[in-house]
């Protein structure tokens, strides 16, 4: 019976895999590629609904010999991944037609990558975690290079692949050391072995902790390991960039939270000391270098680095409440970032990239709705109330102050003010400059739905912050 229970608990993932596989074959059968997006979205909705039903009937606990957990923590992150995936698909439909990207592979790779992230968030065994991470990473490497004729896309894929493979090696070193110390890859068994054998102070434990932080730091683009992010984000097709800056980043935080809290919970002082300078450096690097960017995708890449730094503050604090504020922040960041990228995607048309800041000049005169949306997302990324971005930063800073990290908050708030320059510069270009030439948007119904959803969520969370925060809190503790 336990096998059957395992199968039921991983059925959302299995359904997604089935959807991805059928999309691959459906690509040969249907002529109109929009059908694939609809079929993919239907599969994702079914999987998400099954997941929701499983939560409703009270299914919880571990499966597959303790390798996989179906708990509130995993489910919160799965909601982030499902939303990212759906928004990406909605935003991609037009872009795929313009760039002539093969739709079947594209959608199925997106779904495979999401399955990898879901496995990461739910993994309670280091090997399962590694498996999920590789599934996610390998799919995103291909997605980054899916525009085969474009040199920059190829460069992005190659860079991402090399540095990603490098970071996987760090993760494996960490896993090996922990296995050598404790004889187990199960997170709970490792934690109890570290405790009972009094290995917490051992230098090898510290070394493996550093390896883990390095590997996860690569995935979420923390400051000394962020070098790949701007080039990859710029070169990859824009919907893929949007997907990469939201999904894999949240997945990196999910595994980081679980490993740090469950395995190295006794070493909280030590990892806080390691992560604190990383958080400051990440915020500083992201905010300062973004000031000089004229390519909007590159600017959003540095912005995404800075936001990873803000989210990291919740982990630096080291309290469960702190991590709840990180989860809250990740959800908010995902929505507003997808929205901002959604507007960038709309500027793309045949033979015109729409990625330069100058392309936004006078956008408000020609397309007031799109400009207003961009305005809201830029305000939210800056952290101006009543948008969700303000709420995310507010809770993180509040928890940090409670935990006594006052100077960390001061530094973060200062850089947050710096970041207002490059976010509001986009707004300035849109509203205060004269249009340089012909600006036409490649609008579509699907992109409209995605942007409407994003903007409504940004405003709703901004006005009723407790909805999301309580959900995050219940997911973490419940």
């Amino acid at each position: 019976m336990s096998h059957l229970r395992s199968m039921i608990l991983i059925s959302p993932e299995l359904l997604l895999v089935l959807t991805a596989l059928s999309l691959l074959l459906l690509d040969f059968l249907v002529r109109r590629k929009g059908t694939l997006a609809v079929a993919g979205a239907a599969g994702i909705f079914i999987s998400a609904y099954v997941n929701y039903r499983l939560i409703k009937v009270g299914m919880t606990g571990g499966t597959i010999q303790g390798m996989f957990a179906f708990d509130g923590y995993a489910n919160f992150f799965k909601l982030i991944f499902y939303t990212t995936l759906l928004l990406t698909i909605l935003l991609s439909v037009k872009y795929l037609a313009i760039e002539k990207i093969s739709a079947g592979e594209y959608y199925s790779l997106l779904i495979f990558s999401t399955v990898g992230m879901m496995i990461m968030a739910a993994a309670t065994d280091l090997l399962m975690l590694y498996l999920g991470l590789e599934l996610m990473a390998l799919s995103t490497y291909i997605l980054a290079g899916i525009v085969r004729g474009d040199r920059r896309s190829n460069e992005a894929a190659l860079k991402y692949f090399f540095l990603g493979a490098f970071s996987s090696a760090f993760l494996l070193y960490g896993i090996t050391l922990v296995y050598g110390l404790t004889g187990s890859t199960n997170l709970r068994e490792i934690a109890s072995a570290l405790h009972s054998l009094k290995l917490a102070e051992s230098p090898i434990t510290m070394l493996s902790l550093i390896f883990f932080i390095t590997a996860f730091g690569f995935k979420i683009a923390l400051a000394p390991f962020h070098m790949w992010a701007p080039d990859v984000y710029e070169g990859a097709p824009t919907p893929v960039t949007a997907f990469m800056s939201a999904g894999p980043k949240a997945a990196g935080f999910a595994v980081m939270g679980r490993v740090l809290f469950d395995v190295f919970g006794g070493l909280q002082m030590q990892w806080s000391i390691i992560l604190e300078p990383l958080a400051i450096l990440t915020i500083a690097v992201g905010s300062i270098i973004a000031l000089s960017q004229t390519n909007i995708k590159r600017m959003l890449a540095y912005s995404s680095i800075a936001h990873a730094g803000y989210a990291l503050i919740g982990i630096v604090i080291g309290t469960p409440e702190g991590f709840v504020s990180t989860m809250n922040y990740l959800m908010i960041y995902m929505i507003m970032n997808m929205g901002a990228f959604g507007v960038v995607i709309m500027l793309k048309r045949e033979g015109f990239s729409g990625e330069n800041l100058e392309d936004y000049a006078g956008l408000a005169k020609r397309h007031p709705v799109a400009s207003a949306l961009m305005l809201v997302f830029m305000f939210s990324l800056t952290g101006i109330p009543p948008t969700a971005g303000f709420i995310g930063k507010f809770y993180i800073f509040m928890e940090a102050v409670y935990a006594g990290h006052i100077y960390l908050v001061i530094i973060a708030a200062l850089f947050s003010a710096v970041s207002a320059f490059f976010y509001l510069r986009v707004v300035m270009y849109m509203y205060m400059k004269e249009p340089a030439g012909d600006i036409s948007l490649s609008t579509s119904k699907t992109a409209g739905i995605a942007l409407a959803f994003a903007v409504i969520m940004v405003l709703v969370i901004g006005v009723f912050p407790s909805l999301l925060l309580n959900f995050a809190r219940n997911s973490f503790f419940g």
């Binding site: 895999v17 596989l21 050598g180 110390l181 004889g183 072995a193 054998l197």
Partner: protein
């Protein structure tokens, strides 16, 4: 270090590795110590069944071989997984059967995909 986990189950593997290295290297080492060193052109030429070599061994070959090689690796790994499953079939029972069928099903879809995409056509 006291209390450190020592994976004693893996001891035979380490011993095999050590012995394999010794057995592999020792003939080369003994040969290099014992053999006379008299080299001339014919002896240093690459061995091509006694003929004079024609051209360089490095030349460009079609990129299509990559696809063939990739497909080969995929189905090679499938075979590698099938052997231990077949040997332990009695112990794994119906669960192992279902899992292996899922594995083969996923590969089957990959196979159909590769076929339809024309990866198996040389031209």
């Amino acid at each position: 270090m006291p209390g450190t986990f020592i994976p004693s189950n893996y001891l035979p593997i380490i011993i095999i590795c050590i012995f394999a290295t010794i057995i592999g290297l020792s003939p080369l080492l003994i040969g290099s110590l014992l053999r006379p060193r008299r080299s001339y052109r014919q002896k240093l030429l690459p061995y091509e069944s006694g003929n004079e070599p024609i051209g360089e061994p490095r030349y460009k070959f079609s990129v299509k071989f990559y696809i063939v090689a990739m497909l080969f690796v995929v189905f090679d790994v499938e075979a590698v997984f099938l052997y231990p499953w077949a040997v332990a079939y009695d112990k794994l029972g119906i669960f192992g059967f279902v899992e292996m069928m899922m594995f083969i099903f996923i590969l089957l879809i990959g196979y159909i995909y590769a076929w339809e995409k024309g990866a198996l056509d040389w031209e």
